[in-house]
Structure formats: C-alpha cells, structure tokens
C-alpha cells in the first residue's frame, strides 16, 4: 500500500498545497516532496489537521494523494497528481517584456 499525503488548494490564491506536520504543528507547502506522508494513525492525524485548516479557511477541497518515495522526497503515483504537483507540462506563453519577472512554473505566483 502506498503512503498518502494531504493536498488542497489555498483559499486566497487557489494554488496547490500539501500538508506538512512537524512536532504537532501543521503547515502547507507548495512542494509535494516536503509533504508529510503516512498511513494508519498518522494519516488520521493528517486528516484532522486538514479538516481544521479547511474550517479555518486556509484551504479548500482537501483530498489524499498516493505517493511513493523518489530521489528528493515524495512523488505522486498518478499522472494527474504529478502534473498537479509540478505544474503544466508545457511552456506557458510569455512576453519578452515580462522576462524580468521570473516565473518558476506556478510556484512563484
């Protein structure tokens, strides 16, 4: 059985976020690699934290994603979730005039 992480969208920005739990404190990161993955009791704790974040209006639409361990951390198992984690697989259109405001995929938005 694969481990799972919690993902959601940030209410204000709409951007993708993953739940991290450290020493009982929860936070949301845009990087799936640094998310907290678990099953069993840990997953239950993650669920409670995600539901609280939803009630606190930090995030919307939380759900779980299957992950496997990759070189630098967790990686989603499905294509959909890989694309959701990494951003569109195509180059976004961009103007030369906008070149100075660098855009590392969606993460910098």
């Amino acid at each position: 059985m694969a481990l799972q992480v919690y993902t959601a969208s940030l209410l204000k920005e709409g951007l993708v976020a993953y739940l991290c739990l450290e020493d009982g404190a929860s936070s949301w990161t845009s990087d799936i690699r640094g998310a907290t993955a678990g099953d069993g009791d840990l997953l239950e704790t993650l669920k409670i934290a995600a539901e609280k974040a939803e009630r606190d209006n930090l995030i919307i639409a939380p759900y779980v994603v299957d992950v496997l361990e990759a070189e630098n951390g967790w990686k989603a198992t499905t294509k959909r979730e890989q694309i959701r984690a990494d951003g569109p697989t195509i180059a976004l259109p961009r103007d030369a005039s906008a070149a100075s405001t660098t855009d590392e995929g969606r993460k910098a938005a």
């Binding site: 209410l11 951007l15 294509k79 569109p88 906008a98």
Partner: protein, 550 residues
C-alpha cells in the same frame, strides 16, 4: 457594436459589489466554501487543477480594441501574462487569485464586460459567426438577434436553474462557422417562403459523452417570434429535463427520449400560450438593436491594389499567408483577416498580454477598432482595406500571429486538458503541439487542403473532437494517457459526428497515426480538390483501419 444602457451599467456594478462582499465574507470565514462555491461559479470562477480559473464572456465573440486592452491589462496585472480563447469564443484566465477577482470584474465592467453566466446551469454566452456582418454568403447579420438573446437570457429568473447548462448559437450565413448543429439551440437565418427572413430552429445538438446533431424542430420561425419561441423551448426543457441524472440532463437527451415529433408538439403547445406576450418582437424593437450593428462608413474602393498584387507575385511567404488567412469581404476593396493563434510556439488559443495590446492597436489602425473571436480559437480583423494588407501582415508576422494555416491541418482546436483541467483524463495541448511540430511544413499543409483536427482531454468534449474531420480524445487507460481517433466529423452545415476508428494509440504513437491517416487520404483522393472529409465519406473506414491496424 452594442453599447450598454445606464441600467446595464448599474446592474453590472451592483453585481460586482455584491460579489466583492461575498469574497470578503469568504476570506473572513463568514461564508463556508459550500455556501460560497455556488456564488463564485455564478461569477465564472472555477477551481481548476492548479489554481482558480476565471471565464469571461465575449458576447457573440465581438470585442472592441478597448476591451482587448483591458483583457491584456488583466492578464498582465492579475494573471501570468496571457489568456486562453476558447471554442465558445470566450476568454479564460488560468491563474487569478480569489482576492483579486472583484477588481478584475471591476475592470471588466468599466468596458462593458463580465463573467456572469459563464458557468452553471443557465443560458451561457450566445455564440455566432465570426464573419457576421461582413461575410459574402450572409443572408442577414445575426448579431442583433444574438444581442436580443443576450438581453433576454441575462438574469432571466425562470432560467437561472435549468436542469443543465444551455448553449445557443446563431448564424446568418449559408456556410456555418458557428457550429449551430451541436448546440442546445442553433438558429440559422434563412429567407422564408414569403421572402421575409426568419429562422431555422435546431434543438438538441450537443457533444459530451452523448454527441448529437440538433434536430430541425421548426423549418421557419418569423423573426418577431424568436424570443417567444426560445422561451417556449426553455420552459418545456426546464419542466421536463432530467434533473435526476447528470448525464441525461441536457436538452439533447430530452429531445431524443421524447422523440422529435412529440417534442415539436410540446413546444408548439407551449408557444401558443406565450406567443402574444411582451416578448413578441415588434419591428421597432429589432430595428433599435440593429442600429448598433449598422455597416460602418465603408469607402468606395476598387477591388485591386498594386502593392498587394506585386507582393503576392514577388514574396512567396506573403502569398502563402494571403492564400490561407485572408477571406473575401462583402465590400469591394476590403478583406477579412484571420489572426492565427496556432503557431508552433504557443498552445492553441493562447495570447500573451503584449500580443493582445498589439492586436488592439492593429484593430484601431487597420480594422475599425474591432476584433472577433472564432469557434476555432483564432481571431479576426473583419474590415481591412486591401492597401493595408501588406503592412498588417508585416506586423502580424513580427507578433507570431501570421501562421498560414486557417482551416488547415495545424489549425487545431484543443481544450486545456490535463495540463490545467481538473476533469481531464489526458493531456491535449502537448499532442496538438507535437502534431503542429511534426507537420510544420506549408507545402504539405497546403496540399492537404481544408481539414480540421480537434482534441479533447476527456469525454466532456470541450475541444469538439466529435465534429472534427480527425478527432482526438485523450483517455486514461490503466494510468497511461492514450488517444482515441475519430474520423469523419464536421461542425459545418454538413454537420456529422465522427466515428471511432479502433483501439486507442499511446501518446508516442498518435502523431504517427495521424500521419498514416493523412497518407491514406493523399493516396486515395480522386484529385486535390476532393477534401479529406469528402474522401472519407466516399471511402469509409476500411482503408484507414487497414493502414492503422493492418
């Protein structure tokens, strides 16, 4: 172009302020997502795979230069510097922040635009012929009727919660450039038996998981009765449409299950009740709206221009563009120009903020300050003088908007697919890009002639794959993205739904498969005049199947 009344302005501003309040309450936690979701969708704001997505309505695809500049400004200030023009002639922004949306809507309202009824189970933006008012094959300009429908359907209280979304398209020409056959209602202006213009009324067309061609429910509807008849159709649908099953909720299923004849009778019966109500359009009502769409003051010009003709002879690159991306205009000395949003460098339908600004400037300079969006995700400058074609082409080339491919192989319709869409089962943009790159050869594209390829990233069929000559549907098969080919569809006046040719192809095989299909056509066509579609209809699936699956 239609100009808002004082009341229209007021209504829109009130709506923006209302939404601003809702957003503020949501951000403060006074509204839950369940409560708010409905309100944001009512204002065109979806949640997609990576971010929110805002869909802005472009009524019947008509934009002023000023509106285009506002779209550019929004892309630059609130989004990632680009927008996506959709097959429904609207524009979508893929990255707005919730807190910015009220300001975006404010900016839109200032130029008489909004995102109302671009989502949800209501009457959506009415689409039309991008060549309305300038096409040579036009019976009558459809835009005044689109505008009347817009006014009738916007905030129509009875039709705010239909069983499902509802899309209306209107064309006034012989050639169908608005895909009226695959809309919930398609209206086609024709000359009636008494010499007066009226409508053919098609009902129950649609795509999605059950694609259907609309049925001709009324052969001739007097113009004055347009709204009463639409009201009758919508009322019957609202009462009888399948609210119990999402997949059966569109009007196409109601028409199909009821049967054409019985459905026609239901509409006629309802119509008799409301025929004489206030929705009956008097001559003066129609004339008033027509006043907004009068012909501009065209100059009397010869239909030749020396510079244009010289360059046609001396510069093959210009010749290629002129051959593909220019159309005849009803007025001597003018031409219609297609701006291709299908270069190898950008996803189909995408335009950057700088490009939008430049297009607005070009519209002001060369085309009476207006731009149209098309069902095939391109743009049109509708009123360009012959003498301006050369400088316009030079500027379009510099903007990468002059790929000579209109209605040809690489003029691909593509939905956002799995790169953006939360409902997707596979990516569509990379496939369109791979096809465009592989066949980026003018002579080959030119030799193939008139041809459409459309791609959807799931069965919802936003990319209209069912009605492409060559349709591609991305599906997820055991975790792999694979692509199903359908052949023989058409979205035009000879509309038809394509047929699946066989088992799906892998992402690494689909471009080769397209190459094989094109090869079979080239080998078997009677002569270069026989289009892909005509050849396919003559040959049937067999030779294509044989080549693809051996």
């Amino acid at each position: 172009m239609y100009q808002y009344s004082e009341q229209d302005h007021q209504l829109l501003l009130e709506r923006v302020e209302q939404f601003r309040g809702q957003v503020q309450r949501r951000l403060k936690g006074q509204l839950s997502e369940d409560e708010f979701k409905h309100q944001r969708l009512r204002n065109g704001l979806y949640l997609q795979l990576h971010a929110y997505m805002l869909r802005v309505a472009i009524p019947y695809g008509l934009l002023s230069a000023e509106q285009m500049r506002t779209l550019a400004h929004i892309a630059r200030k609130y989004d990632k510097g680009y927008g996506h023009f959709s097959t429904r002639q609207n524009i979508q922004y893929n990255w707005p922040k919730l807190e910015d949306v009220p300001n975006i809507l404010d900016d839109l309202a200032a130029v008489e635009m909004h995102a109302i009824q671009t989502s949800g189970n209501c009457i959506r933006n009415t689409t039309s012929d991008p060549l309305a008012g300038v096409a040579r094959d036009e019976v009558e300009d459809p835009r005044p009727y689109c505008e009347l429908i817009r006014q009738w359907s916007t905030f129509h209280p009875e039709f705010n919660f239909l069983p499902r979304k509802f899309k209306i398209a209107v064309t006034g020409a012989v050639g169908d450039r608005a895909a009226v056959a695959v809309h919930d209602i398609g209206l086609k202006l024709i000359q009636g038996p008494d010499g007066e213009n009226g409508f053919e009324v098609y009902v129950g067309g649609g795509l999605g998981r059950t694609p259907m061609i609309g049925k001709l429910i009324r052969k001739y509807l007097p113009k004055e009765d347009m709204l009463t008849y639409l009201e009758a159709i919508l009322r019957v649908y609202n009462q009888l449409g399948r609210r119990d099953n999402l997949y059966k909720a569109r009007i196409k299923i109601l028409v199909h299950e009821t049967g054409e004849e019985k459905f026609r009778k239901l509409i006629e019966a309802e119509w008799q009740q409301i025929k004489a109500t206030g929705l009956y359009l008097r001559e003066q009502d129609i004339e008033r709206i027509k006043g907004f769409f009068k012909d501009p003051d065209y100059q009397e010009l010869p239909d030749t221009d020396a510079d244009f003709e010289n360059l046609l002879l001396s510069d093959p690159e210009f010749g290629r563009w002129a051959d593909k991306n220019i159309d005849q205009h009803k007025q001597s000395g003018y031409r219609i120009v297609y701006l291709s949003l299908k270069s190898v460098n950008q996803p189909p339908g995408d335009v950057t903020a700088d490009q939008m600004d430049a297009i607005a400037d070009l519209a002001d300079k060369y085309s009476l300050g207006q731009i149209r969006t098309t069902h095939r995700q391109n743009l049109v400058l509708s009123d360009v003088q012959l003498k301006d074609l050369v400088p316009l082409w030079q500027e379009l080339k510099a903007l990468d908007l002059a790929t000579p491919n209109y209605n040809h192989l690489t003029d691909i319709i593509s939905c956002p697919g799995l790169d953006f869409c939360a409902l997707a089962t596979a990516r569509s943009i990379p496939i369109s890009q791979a096809i465009t790159e592989r066949f980026d050869n003018y002579d080959f594209i030119n030799d193939l002639g008139d041809l459409s390829i459309n791609i959807s990233g799931c069965i919802n069929a936003c990319g209209h794959h069912h009605v492409a000559n060559i349709g591609i549907l991305g599906v997820n098969k055991k975790g792999e993205e694979v692509y199903q080919l359908t052949l023989g569809g058409s979205a035009r006046e000879d509309a038809s739904i394509g047929k699946i040719i066989g088992p799906a192809f892998g992402a690494d095989q689909i471009v080769d498969a397209i190459g094989d299909v094109l090869g079979v056509y080239l080998e078997n066509r009677e002569d270069p005049e026989e289009t892909f579609l005509t050849a396919y209809r003559r040959l049937g699936q067999a030779p294509f199947k044989e080549k693809l699956y051996g």
